[in-house]
Subunit: 194 residues, 2 copies
């Protein structure tokens, strides 16, 4: 019942559903555990799922042609994880998504989600808003990398995710922010030293 | 009644609405004409509208710090036009949107669209799918610029918009495709010459 209770609480912001509806909806989801460093998605695969993180942390990693790893995003407890581009476009993914610690997910397959929207149009609002947020997030990050100073990017992230350094090593955060790890350490010291 | 008829036809792919519902919905829209080169949105403004192009063509232009113009997108008859990032994030736009010929738009203000979703939840599906398509389009274009050869990008665009060269000058298309205008002319000649 953990899944239903979590979702009832979460979806209240979008729509009200009856207990019977919740039972039907919950059957579309499966619970999956990922161990630390286990992959949810590998570059080249088509992403066919959307997952709610009931516990844990995941990171998105892109491997460049030079075999460099770039941390392009991360997702924490209470957030959703998917590769929207691969999933909506039904095309091979350019990223890897892996668990950064032991992680519990409520997973729905893409075709089941499409089916769920048909059966419960009330969930469309959730789908619209989730996509809108993903759109804004990915564009915002790309703009921030272009126009903000390193320190501003760091402060912005910290403002949104105050607990991020407890969850994700500095190396990956620096990588996500487009800052050399040494520079990020220096920025952190400067700010803490005030 | 042109607006209602066009929309009834268009929205049939998402949902069925009664004539009374259509009359209510149509009141949320206004018809606006843009002359050639008139702006729908200017860089720095917050985009507060979504518009359906009932006739005409618009282009999206970004002006760089060096005052160079980059054509980042375009929209033709039967498509929707907005700056999703600015609109959803309520932040100043990084782009200009201007009419490329005399253009007729059915415009809805963003706050009215939000209101419309509340009153007609059946329209949520339209909102979700439109955002999903915008998401895929913007990411796909960015990926194409990175991984496809100039010729492949040209052929892909032509496949999707066979009539594009009748609508938009080669200079803007070349710019959008990240190709020098001279190179695009050469590629076109090569292909036509076969």
């Amino acid at each position: 019942m953990q899944l239903i209770d979590t979702f009832k609480d979460y979806f209240r912001q979008f729509t009200i559903l009856s207990d019977e509806e919740w039972i039907t909806i919950s059957k579309y989801f499966e619970i999956r555990m990922l161990s630390k460093n286990e992959f949810l998605l590998k570059q080249g695969e088509i992403c066919n799922l959307v997952a709610y993180i009931s516990y844990g942390t995941l990171i998105y990693i892109k491997i460049t042609d030079n075999a460099d790893e770039i941390t392009t995003d991360f997702a924490l407890q209470g957030e959703w994880v998917t590769d929207n581009f691969s999933r909506l476009n039904n095309s091979p993914s350019f990223i890897n998504i892996k668990a950064f610690e032991n992680t519990e997910l409520f997973i729905i397959k893409h075709h089941n989600l499409v089916d769920l929207y048909e059966k419960f149009p009330k969930l469309e609002k959730f789908g619209r808003i989730l996509t809108e947020k993903a759109f804004v997030k990915i564009i915002q990050h790309s703009i921030d990398l272009q126009i903000l100073q390193a320190k501003e990017r760091y402060l912005k992230l910290l403002d949104k995710y105050p607990e991020i350094f407890q969850k994700i090593p500095l190396f990956h955060i620096a990588n996500y922010l487009g800052i050399a790890p040494k520079s990020l350490s220096r920025i952190r010291k400067e700010i803490t030293g005030r």
